[in-house]
């Protein structure tokens, strides 16, 4: 029993790291523009399908799809940004509806091109199981976990140390003041969206290597990313990481101890609990409230 729980926690942590990547992409875009990109999950999904194409058509390791995924997803991210930028009235709500629409278009486009079959990596190396003590993991999961950690570290460093990164933080906390200091909010917003796209690309490929994907799942990714940002509270990368781990572990435990059908439910309930009882998230500074 205990081993089962421990295994679930372990697997949950591995999956959670990728959730963190997805959530960070959403959070970076939100931080710069104050809008939530409801199509973010679909961007992640698209990257996953790019990995499928690279593996299926060219017989390469899915991770080789990163360049392709980056190109496709980042350009799409740019297109979405341009579209949202064109909204004049009621930015917050209209952008929700617009990105919602884009999400529908992307999900159905994927459905049309790739059909509704469930896809997953067939690479033997990645599916190979390795054991760490009593715990098991697929090689793919470990690789994904490492990649996520590296990217998160890089993002954290970039936001803290680089000029561009600090500009992003400045714009997200006070747009006008940042503008007065010579920072061009428009360029910063573009950068933020592109970064979000890049993170989505990596997350998508990672998810393909460790889990299964199908067209309907894009929507689920967006919701999970949102749940993680609520768990984490806004403004804290370590918070997002921990929140994502919490979600991953909760899901894994639910599957192990209850049933897999309740997996999604667990995340939702966790989300609502935190939303109502811990308005600042578990770790966050200040959450966006009404």
């Amino acid at each position: 029993m205990f081993e089962l729980v421990l295994q679930a926690v372990f697997s949950g942590v591995l999956v959670g790291s990728v959730y963190a990547l997805v959530a960070l992409g959403l959070a970076v875009a939100f931080g710069a523009m104050r809008i939530i990109n409801l199509a973010h999950g679909e961007l992640v999904l698209l990257a996953a399908y790019m990995a499928y194409v690279v593996e299926g058509r060219f017989g390469l390791n899915p991770w080789a799809a990163i360049p392709l995924a980056l190109v496709v997803v980042v350009s799409l991210s740019w297109v979405i940004f341009k579209a949202v930028d064109r909204i004049r009235e009621h930015r917050e709500l209209n952008s929700l509806i617009l990105t919602f629409a884009v999400g529908i278009v992307l999900t159905n486009a994927i459905l049309l091109i790739f059909a509704s079959d469930v896809r997953s990596t067939s690479s033997p190396t990645l599916q190979d199981a390795i054991s760490i003590g009593d715990l098991f993991a697929m090689k793919g999961e470990i690789v994904a976990f490492c990649v996520s950690l590296v990217l998160m570290g890089a993002l954290w460093w970039w936001l803290k140390k680089s000029w561009y990164g600090r500009a992003v933080r400045a714009v997200s906390s006070n747009r006008e003041a940042a503008g007065l200091m010579g920072i061009d909010p428009a360029r910063i917003e573009t950068t933020a969206f592109l970064i979000a796209g890049a993170l989505a690309a990596f997350a998508g490929v990672a998810l393909y290597t460790m889990s299964v994907v199908q067209p309907a799942v894009g929507h689920t990714f967006t919701v999970k990313a949102f749940i993680v940002t609520v768990l984490a509270g806004v403004g804290s990368i370590p918070g997002v990481f921990l929140g994502a781990l919490l979600l991953g572990v909760t899901e894994a435990l639910t599957v192990t101890l209850a049933s897999s059908a309740l997996q999604e439910l667990a995340g939702m309930v966790l989300f609502l609990l935190v939303l109502f009882f811990l308005p600042n998230g578990l770790f966050g500074a200040r959450a966006r409230r009404g």
Binding site: I35, I36, A83, R86, I87, E89, H90, E92, L93, N94, L96, I97, L98, F100, A101, V102, G103, I104, V105, N108, A109, L111, L112, A115, S116, H219, V223, F226, I227, V230, A261, L262, E264, L265, M268, V269, F271, L272, L275, F276, R288, R289, G290
Partner: protein
């Protein structure tokens, strides 16, 4: 606090429009368009009602919901179960379904304190939860296999409401009644305050408006309406399963319908729903059988970008220009 409606005498243009609408509404019956077409219209009117409930919440209260399927599904299951297991007549079960949907909305009241995106997605979470609960509580709801042994619409005063004609007239009447309620609220003092709450809630609170309570009432009303249409739809279709009743389409379609038609007006969501539904069933599905919703997504995206107030807003803007000056602050 009085909620007296303002003067209710219709103006001449309104009367003409009303009569024209009436004629359009009964035309399908008069010209006997056939059962298939009537069936399509019934479904589009169900969507119209759902779109109306969504627009009510968005327009009078400023709450955009991405999870109206929650109320729709709850209403559907409540009505079906109550009429099947407790033997209540369908005429009672349908409003009861709406009531249960309202009650389920009470659990959502804490979300009213949240800002736009958080509210929208919190409601989405509820919709997912209800769907999963409905699937898991198989002993009550028939689970994933579906529920189908429940009564269909009865015969009243000689009119068989389960026939295509009957159900068409029934759903049409309910839409009309709810539209009337919407208009009445919108014209009342409460409606005026609600209009302002969407973008300037603090300004209204400072002058004494209990905005949270008003928003709560709108949420409960919107849930009731959505639940009633969910119930009606259940009895018309005759079969329920969780993925259908709580399906994402019921959250997505009213948004597209209302935004397309113009969610700030009453007729906008109704006409938009009919237009979008018919477009989807007749055009989109034949062009792209699997994944036809992609066209709807495109329509929605285009509308938000070039005509965020929908067709109604677009036309209204054109009509107002010759008069000169600013368009009157309407709706």
């Amino acid at each position: 606090m009085s909620a007296k409606p303002a003067s209710f005498r219709p103006t001449m243009p309104e009367t003409i429009a009303g009569v024209a609408l009436l004629l359009v509404a009964v035309a399908p019956i008069v010209f006997d368009v056939g059962n298939y077409a009537l069936g399509l219209l019934v479904s589009s009117l169900v969507l119209a009602g759902l779109g109306l409930s969504w627009a009510l919440l968005g327009n009078l209260g400023g709450m955009v919901s991405f999870g109206h399927a929650a109320f729709f599904g709850v209403g559907a299951y409540a009505s079906a179960l109550v009429s099947a297991r407790l033997g209540l007549p369908v005429v009672v079960a349908v409003p009861l379904g709406g009531l249960v949907a309202s009650l389920s909305a009470i659990t959502m009241l804490p979300t009213l304190r949240l800002s736009g995106p958080y509210f929208a997605l919190a409601i989405l979470a509820y919709a997912q939860i209800f769907r999963i609960l409905a699937t898991e509580a198989a002993s009550i709801t028939g689970g994933a296999g579906g529920l189908q042994r429940y009564p269909s619409l009865p015969t009243i005063l000689g009119l068989d409401l389960s026939s295509r004609t009957g159900s068409y007239l029934l759903v049409l009447s309910v839409v009309a009644v709810f539209a009337g309620v919407y208009v009445a609220i919108r014209r009342s003092h409460v409606g005026i305050a609600l209009r302002a709450i969407a973008e300037s809630e603090v300004a209204t609170r400072v002058v004494g408006v209990d905005s949270l309570r008003l928003k709560a009432w709108m949420l409960l009303l919107s849930a009731f309406m959505a639940g009633v249409f969910g119930a009606l739809n259940a009895h018309v279709i005759g079969f329920l399963e969780p993925d259908y009743a709580f399906g994402g389409s019921w959250s997505m379609m009213p948004i597209i319908a209302a935004v397309f038609g113009g969610y700030r007006t009453v007729l906008g969501p109704i006409c938009g729903a009919v237009a979008i539904y018919l477009f989807d069933q007749l055009v989109a599905k034949s062009l792209i059988p699997v994944g036809h919703e992609i066209l709807l997504g495109v329509v929605l995206a285009v509308m938000v970008l070039i005509a965020p107030n929908g067709i109604a807003g677009f036309v209204g803007g054109l009509l107002d220009r010759p008069k000169g000056g600013r368009p009157h602050v309407a709706t």
